[in-house]
């Protein structure tokens, strides 16, 4: 009796198992919603329905240093856009707690529950590699604003980024530094445990090879390290013209400080991660002479940059950084894409994001292509007297 009942259970379990083990073909059902289609186009476009825009940023835990700026930058952009006529946006921001799980869950919520037209974020490339495929298979355009790692746009045609890839930033800053200070021999230091910095390292080595710069010291460290003296001693003994650094802000600050304390006064060249006023604030004098390649510069005279800096500082009581500036730009790019056909459906936003050409933004003229890659002119800056200055 008992045995029979249990064998029934076994059969049921087996059946369930078989069904779960099967792969179901997921059909992307992209129903177009007419309410999201408006009249007119461009500046005259008017859509009755509020357009929902999702955003996933790391507002807490490890990457909160970036996520907070991004949220503020994006919110500022949509406040400004909503003040104009025609299209109004509702911004739904989710915190991924700098964790992959929460990031995937946040994407799912925005896609399935909130049914947003487009998603901005996530903050880290690490999460983007696992969330963007979901956006792709659901047919929701996703626009990264700080996902600089190699290979992100290749995930699919719904994936875009308005964040200068690291190779772009470095491809500009290394030659600029070479020209400005004449580097021939360099030391390369990188965080080998973090994927962003590891990816940047690969780019650096390529660019240095292209530029015929000799790498005489090539050392690495781990994200949480606090003591770099052993690596720095090697740098010091090698007599280099510059140090090329690929590190997250957490390690950059102590590393640069220790280098300066030990008397290494060679210029230090870095990529996107350097582009933060926090860095200057924390390092004070030690930050002098850092050369930074980035997507945005406080010193740049691009369209609206001065207004952006003023409005941001007034709203949030601190100066914006590159993360804020890129997120801010993303707001305008989305508005541009929606207004192009005056259609806020996912397909339309996707099609039009891929056709943004030479959009005049605070990052300068910016273009997105169909593959989702961004094209813009990087800014190379040097820190002088505690200020980012464009390196000419």
């Amino acid at each position: 009796m008992r045995f029979k009942k249990s064998s029934g259970t076994v059969v049921a379990v087996a059946a369930l198992f078989a069904s779960a083990a099967c792969v179901s073909e997921e059909a992307t059902s992209n129903t177009s919603d007419d309410a999201l289609v408006g009249t007119g186009s461009g500046a005259e476009c008017s859509i009755d329905e509020t357009v929902k825009v999702g955003a996933v940023f790391s507002l807490t835990e490890a990457a909160a240093f970036a996520g907070e700026y991004q949220r503020e930058g994006l919110e500022l952009a949509f406040e400004e856009i909503n003040a104009t006529d025609g299209v109004s946006y509702e911004l739904i921001v989710e915190d991924d707690k700098t964790s992959v799980e929460d990031s995937v869950a946040a994407f799912e919520k925005l896609i399935d529950r909130d049914e947003v037209s487009v998603i901005v974020g996530p903050t880290l490339s690490n999460m983007a590699f696992t969330t963007f495929p979901d956006a792709q298979s659901a047919g929701v355009p996703a626009l990264g604003v700080s996902t600089t790692a190699e290979g992100i746009p290749d995930i699919g045609d719904y994936v875009f980024r308005a964040s200068l890839p690291e190779e772009g930033a470095l491809a500009a800053s290394i030659p600029a530094a070479k020209e400005a200070i004449g580097i021939e021999q360099v030391a390369v230091l990188h965080d080998s445990a973090d994927e962003f910095t590891a990816s940047a390292y690969n780019t650096m080595m390529d660019v240095l090879a292209e530029e015929d710069v000799e790498v005489v010291v090539d050392e690495s460290f781990a994200t949480a390290d606090t003591d770099f003296s052993a690596q720095l001693t090697k740098v010091q003994n090698a007599d280099v013209d510059a140090v090329i650094l690929s590190a997250l802000p957490g390690a950059t600050i102590p590393l640069v400080k220790q280098a300066r304390d030990l008397g290494i006064d060679a210029p230090i060249v870095g990529g996107n991660a350097f582009n933060s006023p926090v860095l200057v604030g924390a390092l004070e004098d030690a930050s002098e002479g850092l050369i930074v390649g980035g997507a945005w510069s406080a010193a740049a005279e691009t369209t609206g940059n001065a207004n952006f800096m003023a409005a941001y500082t007034e709203a949030y009581d601190r100066a914006p950084d590159q993360f804020a500036a890129q997120a801010y730009t993303a707001g305008y790019l989305i508005d541009q894409a929606v207004r192009a056909d005056c259609d806020a459906n996912r397909e339309a936003v996707k099609d039009n994001l891929g056709q943004i050409l030479e959009f005049d933004s605070i990052l300068g003229a910016i273009s997105l292509d169909e593959n989702g890659e961004v094209t813009q002119e990087p800014f190379v800056q040097i820190i002088e007297n505690g200020e980012f200055t464009i390196l000419q």
């Binding site: 379990v13 369930l16 792969v23 992959v100 399935d112 590699f129 445990a193 590891a198």
Partner: protein
Amino acid sequence: MLAGYDTLITTIALGAILAYSFHVVLMAGQLSLGQAGFASLAAYVSTLVVPAEPLFGSLSPVLVGLPVGALVGAGAAFVVGLPVLRLRGVFLAIATIAFGEMVRVAMTNAEWTNGALGVRVDKWVTFDFAWIIVAVLAYLFWRLGPSRVGRAFAAVREDELAAGSMGVNVVRTRMTSFVASGAIAGVYGVLFAYFFGRITPAAFDFSLMMDGLVTAVLGGYLVFFGPVLGSGFLTVVPEIQSALGLDAGWVHPLVTSLLLLAVILFLPGGLSSLLARRRPAPRRVDPDGTDLAGLPPLPEPGTAVAELRALGKSYGAVQAVREIDLEIRSGEILGVIGPNGAGKTTLVNMISGLEPPTSGEGEVLGVALGSNGGAHRFAQAGVSRTFQHSKLFDRLTVLDNVLVGTHVVSRPTYLRRLLWLPSARRDERRARALAWAQLDRVGLAERAHLRPGALSYGDQRRLEIARALAAHPTLLILDEPAAGMNHVEAAELAALIKALADDGITVLLIEHNVRMVLDTCTRLVVMNFGEVIAAGRPREVAADPKVVEAYLGATETGESEYV
């Protein structure tokens, strides 16, 4: 299923699977924290073998990854376990943490793993797939609880020495739990890889390990569904919190920490102890003829049970036992008396296989003293014992304590229980019948559902005897069983010991209650300073002037008992 909640639901399943890999070691009392390393190895290896296309057109390719991941995890656990399982407690914890970190660094530096950039794979794992794995694990653990190996896990967790003395192979049990943990962690690693579609070495770090441990502890490791409960709870709390509008980044860690603190302080069994219903008093199982008939016969009276020749034991410069020659014959009640520090407990520890001798030789029921294998081999040969300071399994009921005693006279039931084979039910029923018979014998049948802590001191000693008897011993060693008993209880105990001897059990009795020893024993050995100073018929030995002197000297030194 629930649109928009797939990830949440799958995250609960993944958290539960990770927690099960901690559950299985905690069940056996091992604080092993290398699961992140096993998961990492398994996840990376699985990316090498899992095909890119569905199997036979429609089967999930992860079906290939799961067994590979489990094997990699189990294999790694076995290899790591060989050296580190000699360690215990926090030393084991730290050694396994070190292993996990070594894996992480190795994966970061290896070429085939693509270093910190990680590996991308297709997302094959769906929420129903993950939950099926959880269901399978829950089933495995549900069936494990009341099986022979499940009781062995619990016994090793509660007291390794007592478990070994009851015939549980402690080393193998610890290794089993360690390897099972590795296998489950391996499955977790594979599911993680193919759910998120991406792995990096940093995904399997110290904090992942902490998450798994916290989930397992919060859910509770004494009940089979603890991990599911813990994972569900930890996943739902932040959802509730954000529904309440508490979005500040510090609220979530604060709430989780407070919860964890509250659970560990006030609910040591975890959240599942709230849901585990109060068990009714266990149903009594009376032995029928076949239960006892299956037990091997005891040796004929007069057969040699143990022979010791010039046996000695020293701890560094301290010679605890020296030059003992002793023969124990079947059917006798051999009393060993002597002042504190005379070496009595050291002697029985050697006879029961807990400590190897440092000189001389001996054989107990065919097992040579000091041979490899430890106490369980002596128990399997028919030696069973109680301890001077009771070593009961505190978190098991009285009945379950005695059931552990049946370990050496019952067959493994776990695999058959998984298949619901009737023979497993018969074997479990027989074990329970044997246990009840012993509870009856010592008069504890009414207290079968209590925990040892709820028993009086005298009852605890009786319980230990019942547990030892459940092993159907040839040689029963009682180390001061009457200590703390009043003389009514002691008299009952003396009667019980005599009855046991009448049944053919050989008894070795260490006791301070001289009157009881004189009344019950058939032969008496007196020890002092590690040596036998007198041996023979109880009354004659008691009259020996050397014995009187040793005893008078001893009573002045006080009551505390250390060997």
